[in-house]
């Protein structure tokens, strides 16, 4: 057997071993010192920091994989849920629209209810049509001869006078609004009781033939006088402008209608 020759390579191994022993001793010393002082060991702190980072990374990856897997597994169920929710959403939207319509109808009915209470023979009608061209101010309502409506019946809406019936069919009637050129209603100012004739002017109503000495004011209310079409006291509108001329016997009041004639829905026809 040949004697072992201690080489340069063996020397390096020995030095490395000694270095490891010294490092381990150093670490043990640090650990023992930290344990004695009751504080955290720097070695433990570094080690746990790295470990926690690794744990976080691994947990995130595992969580992601699990959620993807779970999602893939739940796809058939989700599709079913989605279909059911869509159907439910559609049903709820339909119900919502129906409820909105009912609320609107109830509000419209409620608006004309006081008129019906006042005139029990009144016929509640819906506005269903408008003139084909814009030159006349008429509307079509959904009641006619079958409901006992006749020409020249007065029509009231929420707030006051709407107009009068000018043509009657079996199931529908045409109402000339108070703003139509053909409309003429005996009118009276609520303050002062001055008489005049309310005539349509397409956009507004002009109360003509009011005595020149009547001290009219902007904002004065104009109501119907007793006549063939309307009972007295129904609001026509309020004065927006006054036209006076020293050379004439009468003055004219421009009146804004009490009823929003552009948004008519339900009206009451006053049968004679």
């Amino acid at each position: 057997m040949e004697p072992h020759i201690f080489t340069y390579r063996d020397e390096r191994k020995l030095l490395a071993l000694i270095a490891v022993i010294i490092a381990a001793a150093g670490l043990a010393l640090v650990q023992i010192t930290a344990a004695r002082s009751g504080g955290a060991s720097p070695v433990g702190t570094v080690a746990t920091s790295f470990t926690s980072l690794a744990q976080s990374a691994i947990s995130a990856v595992v969580g992601g994989v699990r959620s993807i897997g779970g999602g893939l597994l739940a796809i058939p169920g989700l599709s079913h849920d989605n279909t059911a929710l869509r159907a439910r959403n559609e049903r709820l939207q339909r119900e919502n629209a129906t409820l909105h319509e009912l609320i609107a109808a109830y509000a419209a009915d409620t608006a004309v209810r006081p008129i019906v209470n006042l005139y029990p023979r009144g016929v509640v009608a819906r506005v269903i049509g408008f003139p084909p061209e814009n030159e006349s101010r008429t509307v079509t309502i959904d009641h006619g001869l079958a409901s006992g409506i006749a020409t020249n019946d007065g029509v009231l809406g929420p707030g006051g006078v709407v107009g009068r019936v000018v043509a009657v069919g079996p199931l529908s009637s045409t109402v000339a609004l108070i703003t139509d050129y053909t409309s003429q209603v005996p009118a009276i100012t609520q303050r002062g009781r001055w008489w005049g004739i309310a005539r349509g002017n397409l956009t507004s109503v002009r109360v003509e033939y009011i005595p020149q000495d009547a001290p009219l004011k902007i904002g004065d209310a104009i109501v119907t006088g007793e006549g063939r079409v309307f009972p007295s006291g129904e609001p026509i509108g309020t004065i927006a402008a006054i036209e006076r001329n020293d050379a004439t016997l009468y003055q004219t009041a421009v009146v804004i209608p009490a009823v929003d004639l552009g948004a008519l829905d339900r009206v009451v026809v006053l049968k004679k």
Binding site: I128, G129, F130, P131, P132, E133, N134, E135, S136, T138, T140, V166, A167, T174, A176, D180, Y181, T182
Partner: protein, 162 residues
């Protein structure tokens, strides 16, 4: 001159009337809506002879008077007259030219408005309303010409398909 079938024009007229009495008041520009009835009348009138144009215009105007209830015969007279004029005008031109048809529609709108208010004045309305409503007629002239251009394009597409 053959022109469109009368029943097609009649169906279109009924559709136009229904649209005007129910929907178009919701789509006005400064209180003015296009007159689809006039568009149909002019479209039909320029494609047929004057006699048929006059009859169609008379029925169209009559139905408008019936719906309006307070206009007497003003729409009947004005629309018949406009149909006759449109029918006569188209004889020397190509009836399917969009600029020409739109121009005839614009002219017809003004003439119809003028005749309408003259007849209304004759029926007891205050005179001078044609001037008072002139700005509305001008706006409607533009709207009607545009509506006619769109209508002719749609008709062309249908004709190409068939």
């Amino acid at each position: 001159m053959a022109g469109p079938r009368w029943w097609v024009a009649a169906l279109l007229l009924v559709g136009a009337l229904l649209a005007q009495t129910t929907l178009l008041h919701l789509a006005t520009v400064r209180g003015v809506a296009p007159s689809l009835v006039l568009v149909i009348v002019v479209w039909y009138a320029i494609a047929v002879d004057t006699r048929r144009a006059a009859i169609f215009g008379m029925f169209a105007g009559l139905t408008e008077d019936v719906f309006a209830a307070t206009t007497g015969g003003a729409w009947t007279v004005s629309t018949t007259l406009v149909a006759i004029i449109a029918g006569m005008l188209s004889r020397g031109f190509f009836a399917d030219s969009i600029p020409l048809v739109a121009a005839i529609t614009a002219f017809a709108t003004l003439v119809r408005a003028l005749v309408f208010w003259v007849v209304m004045a004759a029926q007891g309305y205050p005179s001078g309303l044609a001037l008072l409503h002139f700005h509305q007629a001008l706006l409607q002239m533009v709207l009607n010409a545009m509506a006619m251009a769109v209508f002719v394009l749609i008709v062309r597409r249908f004709e190409n398909r068939t």
